[in-house]
């Protein structure tokens, strides 16, 4: 069945994104992985919406796209602020606080 294929693709994308967030050290790459996870959820919404002939899923995806853009912009901004102070985008080097 077609729906299963889409759902498996979406699950695979989500897992790749989640693993990427955990193992990659470059903040920009981590942000790309988060974007991948959001898009995996979008794909899942679209698949279910198509299967049920329901528009709510599509509307949700529009909202998620807008949210993802805002999130990416704020993420880039905080990375930029960090880079100006420290000249690094490596998450392992962000360890000034301990306890």
């Amino acid at each position: 069945m077609m729906m299963n294929n889409y759902l498996m693709l979406s699950a695979a994308l989500f897992v790749i994104g989640a693993v990427g967030v955990m193992i990659r050290r470059n903040v920009i790459v981590v942000m790309m992985c988060i974007e991948l996870m959001l898009n995996a959820a979008n794909l899942s919404f679209i698949t279910f919406a198509n299967y049920r002939h329901d528009m709510t899923g599509h509307a949700f995806v529009f909202m998620v796209i807008a949210v993802a853009a805002a999130e990416a912009a704020v993420g880039l901004a905080v990375v930029l602020a960090m880079f100006r102070n420290r000249e690094t985008v490596d998450v392992d080097e962000m360890n000034s606080m301990k306890g």
Partner: protein
């Protein structure tokens, strides 16, 4: 041309939200058009907006309604949490006036981000649909990522912001994926409809359970429940102190409200599956939070772990559920806002410029140098520790009796043991304040502007006087709970 039927819309229902958004945009425009003159006034514009929104919320109490295609619900439950959020926002704005000026980060964006975050919380607590809840959550979180990194020049603030952003976005992604599964199983996003459909049709129950689990992880991140608490200490320590205070109150209350709405409305038919998970989360959160707090040297970090422990106490009420559990949670969220923001206001005063004095030993001798400030801190710490007759005691008492009432005897015992552990680290600060040899010099005269004194007085009112006469607020919390 065929016209599309328009949904029923009630602008009156979202009047508080509109007020906050309009004020936030006005502040942004004032910021760029009235160059650097009278920036403190922007704080008072924000405060006025909070006041107007509070008035509108109070007006709406007692007349529940559902509007915007059943996506938005205004009821006493949302009203109560909204007032808690506004209280947090108002106290934060007042304590920010001096802080931001000292740190050189005063600007309109600060206050408009605070208002946007508060608007997000409003949408979260009033959301009767997965879409509204997700949008509210993101509006709140995105504003908070920016606020956590607002002290751009300070490395700790940068780090706090990036860590908060990465883990926050990760948790949002988990929640969204979970929502997509619930939508897939039920075919709707309205919470009531989801409850109705999955109550009748058990065919897709595994999909709902998986989705519910992912949504639970998302909420656990937002309320910093163990084991999803890793971001909390770093973010609380690195963020500017008023923002730390803000994050520990409103956003947590809003996340709890949305948590209650999703799990005790939409997923009520899975109650027997999720209560055990919440039970474990509650015990882990209390215990880990309290034990790690014992060994903290930085006071902001200590309060971070203590706030994790407090989330655990509130989860005890959530496990108990029912009218008793819910009203105890609401009451606790209210008094926690008072006492925690008050304590952070004192931390901000002692921290002084650049937040250089935030270790516990910086409080040495404070009780002698500034007797009144010391006394205020003692009262707030007593309340946080839950020592009678403070409000903190009554808050814990109602939470734990709610658990006992539902037969969760072990949970209540573990919670009580935990509040005993908590007494140690709160008392340690008091011991340092009064018994350690003083090394620091007195705070400068200008460390106590009227704005911050007001915050501390409000906090004292909420955590001490409210403990002596909790009746009215408790009745309000009880009438505001969702369960009947």
């Amino acid at each position: 041309m065929e016209m599309i039927p328009l949904p029923q819309i009630s602008v009156g229902a979202i009047a508080p939200e509109l007020t906050l958004v309009a004020a936030a945009m006005i502040i942004l425009m004032l910021e760029v058009f009235t160059i650097s003159k009278g920036r403190d006034n922007l704080a008072y514009v924000a405060l006025a907006a909070v006041g107007v929104a509070g008035y509108l919320v109070i007006e709406s109490l007692g007349s529940p309604m559902t509007t915007f295609s059943k996506m938005y619900v205004v009821d006493d439950f949302s009203g109560f949490i909204k007032l808690v959020c506004l209280l947090g926002a108002g106290m934060t704005i007042l304590m920010s006036v001096k802080y931001t000026r000292d740190e050189g980060i005063d600007g309109g964006e600060y206050y408009s981000l605070l208002l946007f975050a508060t608007t997000g919380m409003f949408f979260m607590v009033s959301g009767a649909d997965l879409i509204t809840i997700f949008l509210g959550l993101e509006t709140m979180s995105i504003s908070l990522y920016a606020l956590a990194g607002y002290a751009r020049g300070r490395l700790a603030s940068n780090e706090a912001s990036i860590k908060y952003f990465i883990l926050g976005a990760l948790s949002s992604a988990f929640m969204l994926y979970g929502m997509s599964m619930i939508y897939g199983a039920a075919g709707v996003t309205n919470l009531h409809e989801i409850a109705r459909i999955i109550g009748q049709n058990k065919e897709n129950i595994h999909l709902v359970m998986l989705g519910g689990g992912l949504v639970l992880i998302g909420f656990a991140f937002k309320i910093s429940a163990v084991p999803f608490h890793m971001w909390t200490p770093d973010v609380y320590q690195g963020a500017p102190t008023p923002i730390t205070a803000f994050m520990s109150a409103g956003p947590k209350a809003a996340a709890f409200a949305a948590f209650i709405r999703v799990f005790s409305d939409a997923l009520i038919s899975l109650q027997y599956q999720w209560w055990i998970i919440v039970w474990i989360l509650a015990v882990l959160t209390m215990t880990v939070g309290n034990l790690i707090a014992l060994s903290q040297e930085n006071i902001k970090r200590m309060f971070a772990y203590s706030s994790i422990a407090h989330a655990g106490y509130i989860l005890v009420g959530f496990t108990a559920g029912g009218k008793l559990g819910e009203s105890a949670m609401l009451f606790y969220l209210l008094i926690y806002t008072f006492m925690n923001i008050g304590a952070f206001a004192i931390v901000a005063i002692v921290g002084q410029q650049g937040e250089e004095r935030t270790s516990v030993s910086d409080f040495a001798g404070l009780g002698y140098r500034h007797p009144l400030l010391g006394l205020a801190m003692v009262a707030l710490l007593f309340s946080l520790a839950g020592i009678p007759p403070t409000a903190g005691f009554w808050g814990k008492y109602y939470l734990f009796t709610a658990a006992l009432d539902q037969g969760y005897v072990w949970l209540a015992i573990l919670a009580a043991l935990n509040s005993v552990i908590a007494v140690f680290y709160y008392l340690r600060v008091i011991v340092v304040m009064y018994m350690r040899e003083e090394k620091g010099e007195s705070l400068p005269q200008n460390a106590f502007p009227a704005s911050i004194v007001v915050v501390i007085l409000v906090a004292i009112y909420g955590s001490v006087l409210l403990g002596i006469t909790p009746g009215g607020y408790l009745a309000l919390a009880a009438s505001s709970s969702l369960a009947h």
